[in-house]
């Protein structure tokens, strides 16, 4: 393991050298593209230039799109055959992201690589190309509760970075990347630190079995009115993996089209709609319950650890000020028999 101290201009050179061999992906600020006018959208996307990397703020969208794009063509078809689209850019991918998001990938892996004993080839072909460049969190952001979810820490990175005012401190775990850094900067003893405390305190219920009363408990009914089923909490979440399949056809072709998979989410209308219009979770409160239990209970029951990594994005993005972390705490009090 080597550590270096770099200047900004060193880092720019390294970034350019990395760009020649890898595709770089990370938080990216789109000026003036926020939901409100004159605000910025911080998304996660491929980076053409070091200046595009937003290393100070938390992104609105998560980096999951690098392995699980919002809309992905799975097949191109005509009436005879289904063909997978090629992955044109075969370069490996460096992803700049934070510890919670790295831990988020372990959740994505469970679903896409293991669940149902089948490997999702579209996920896998990107996933195996990925190297994590971890951006250290010097302190947590507004809605983070990573400590409660034990996802504030990780060793799963190729390179760790600290962006100081003047310098950039890096630690290399994957020696393969040494050659990019050796000739720049000075050796140092830098090791990244991890946040030890978040402002948001979450007490996680650790029930192995959720009492049946919880499913129909009136604690969920407040969300019937509050949630507008916009789906932001699902789409921005680094660990939500749900999708729907759609076939599209080219208007000018009689025979050709594409099969695609597109993000879906359990808060969105239609997620459980069956023939005849019957929905299993019509009420928003039931959707909130379903999401909550998936994130902090039934995923663990299946895979041994919680799904939610406490990145707090769902709280960041909810237009109705529904706080997921508060909901977990309400569930905790309800379980303890306290009045939520």
């Amino acid at each position: 393991m080597n550590s270096y101290s770099l200047t900004r201009s060193n880092f720019k050179d390294i970034f350019d050298r990395l760009s020649a061999e890898y595709r770089l992906f990370g938080p990216k600020r789109l000026a003036g593209r926020g939901r409100f006018s004159d605000t910025d959208l911080i998304t996660c996307d491929f980076l053409a230039d070091i200046d595009e990397l937003e290393f100070e703020e938390k992104s609105f969208m998560s980096p999951k799109s690098v392995v699980f794009p919002a809309d992905e063509t799975t097949f191109v078809f005509n009436e005879e055959e289904f063909k997978e689209p090629l992955m044109r850019d075969q370069r490996e991918i460096i992803v700049f992201l934070r510890p919670c998001d790295i831990n988020g990938f372990a959740r994505l892996d469970k679903i896409f690589l293991e669940n149902g004993d089948r490997v999702d080839p579209y996920y896998q072909r990107r996933r195996q190309k990925i190297h994590f460049f971890m951006i250290e969190c010097s302190s947590s952001f507004e809605n983070c509760f990573c400590v409660a979810m034990q996802s504030n820490h990780t060793d799963n990175y190729a390179v760790a970075l600290r962006f100081d005012k003047e310098s950039i401190e890096i630690q290399i775990r994957n020696d393969h990347f040494n050659r990019f850094f050796e000739s720049f900067g000075t050796k140092s003893a830098f090791t990244p630190e991890f946040v030890k405390e978040d402002a948001v305190k979450v007490e996680l219920p650790d029930n192995d079995e959720m009492p049946a009363e919880i499913f129909n408990h009136q604690m969920w009914s407040e969300y019937d009115q509050r949630c507008i089923a916009c789906g932001r909490c699902n789409t921005s979440c680094v660990t939500c993996t749900c999708f729907s399949t759609v076939d599209i056809f080219y208007p000018d072709s009689r025979t050709c089209g594409e099969r695609r998979r597109v993000w879906d989410g359990c808060h969105l209308d239609g997620f459980t709609e069956m023939a005849g219009g019957h929905s299993f979770r019509k009420n928003k409160g039931d959707r909130m319950r379903f999401k909550t239990l998936h994130k902090i209970y039934d995923f663990r029951k299946r895979f041994g650890f919680d799904m939610c990594v406490g990145c707090g994005r769902c709280d960041d993005v909810c237009p109705e000020y529904i706080s997921f972390s508060s909901c977990i705490n309400k569930l905790g009090s309800t379980l303890k028999g306290e009045k939520a």
Binding site: L30, A31, S37, D71, G231, T235, V262, W263, D264, V317
Partner: protein, 338 residues
């Protein structure tokens, strides 16, 4: 000593003749209707020291300080210096604050809705735009009313102005980020014009139907719709209240830039100067356009204006309104007894 006033000079100086003999009311300009607590304290102080402690909030977002004795005008003007410094000079007007108060009162206070400093719907900082207009247009003597509103909801009633400026946005679509949730399509259909439709799980925007409100941007969960950071405006013209022919302002220019809006309003001043009927005490701009016709107005104010490529110009112009003369429509109670 009897008061001997040059009424026209007084009025031009933003003091008005009031019902109460020997007393005036001062109109304080607050461009964009935005003011700091300190500034409002300064206005209050003028009201306390020179008036009777009352202030009136005008529909145009200015203040009127009534019951000021005419002989206090010079002192009041001196007291206005810091306000003029902050609200006019700081915004770039061509005059200095020099103890002489407001140099003109023809162009009314430029009002604005609260805009994007607060409102989620607003497509621009309307306060800043109003302040910029103040700097570019004030002072002049022609009676012109301008208001800036942040979105087509038009909370400031831009439709009742000589120049109503509506901030709009060009929604831009990131095809790859769209998950086909239909939230944008629904909101545009329900609240706006139905400019969006779904095809193959993606959204198609009919640019001719889109009014640039930005509802789709607000609705989109994935940021697939974002505003083009280049800002656009719709300029409505020649709306008015008044005793003869109240009517709403109609779109003259659409999808134009801030520069175009400012230039067109600036070009209107010499147009007024060329055509105004000087035999009348004052002729409102709308009535001048009625006399010259829209074509002449359009040609003259667009001269030398460099239009942005997106700009659209109204081909013809008709203003919905009514003639107050039309009494034939009004019937006494007997008629309704039938």
């Amino acid at each position: 000593m009897s008061a001997d006033l040059n009424r026209k000079k007084v009025t031009k100086n933003a003091f008005r003749i009031t019902k109460r003999r020997n007393h005036t009311a001062l109109r304080v300009r607050v461009p964009g209707g935005h003011i700091t607590a300190e500034q409002i304290a300064m206005i209050a102080d003028i009201a306390r020291r020179f008036g009777d402690g009352n202030m009136h909030i005008t529909t145009r977002q200015g203040f009127e300080i009534p019951n000021i004795p005419f002989e206090k005008m010079a002192e009041v003007n001196a007291a206005l210096n810091p306000l003029i410094e902050e609200l006019q000079v700081a915004n770039g007007v061509s005059f200095a604050a020099s103890n002489s108060g407001y140099p003109a009162a023809g162009m009314r206070n430029i009002s604005a809705c609260i805009g994007n400093r607060v409102c989620p719907f607003a497509n621009t900082d309307t306060t800043a735009f109003a302040q910029k207009l103040e700097g570019q247009l004030f002072p002049h003597d022609f009676h012109v009313k301008i208001a800036v509103t942040g979105c087509p909801n038009d909370c400031i009633k831009a439709h009742m102005q000589d120049f109503g400026i509506i901030a709009i946005c060009e929604p831009q679509y990131d095809y790859d980020a769209c998950i086909g949730c239909e939230a944008c399509e629904k909101v545009c259909k329900r609240k706006v014009t139905g400019a969006l439709s779904m095809k193959n799980g993606k959204v198609i925007r009919d640019a001719r139907r889109c009014i640039g409100c930005g509802e789709c941007v607000l609705a989109c969960p994935t940021g697939a719709w974002t505003r083009n950071p280049q800002k656009f405006y719709r300029l409505l013209i020649m709306g008015r209240t008044g005793k003869r022919n109240p009517r709403i302002a109609m779109p003259f220019l659409n999808w134009v830039t801030e520069e175009v809006v400012i230039q067109v309003i600036r070009n209107t001043i010499p147009y007024i100067d060329r055509y105004i009927l000087r035999c009348l005490p004052k002729e409102h701009i709308g009535y001048i356009v009625d006399r010259t016709g829209y074509d002449v107005y359009r040609r003259e104010v667009l001269e030398n204006v460099k239009l942005n490529p997106e700009a659209k110009i109204a081909r013809t112009m008709q203003w919905p309104g009514y003639d107050t003369l039309n009494d034939a429509n009004m019937r006494s109670a007997d008629y309704w007894k039938g």
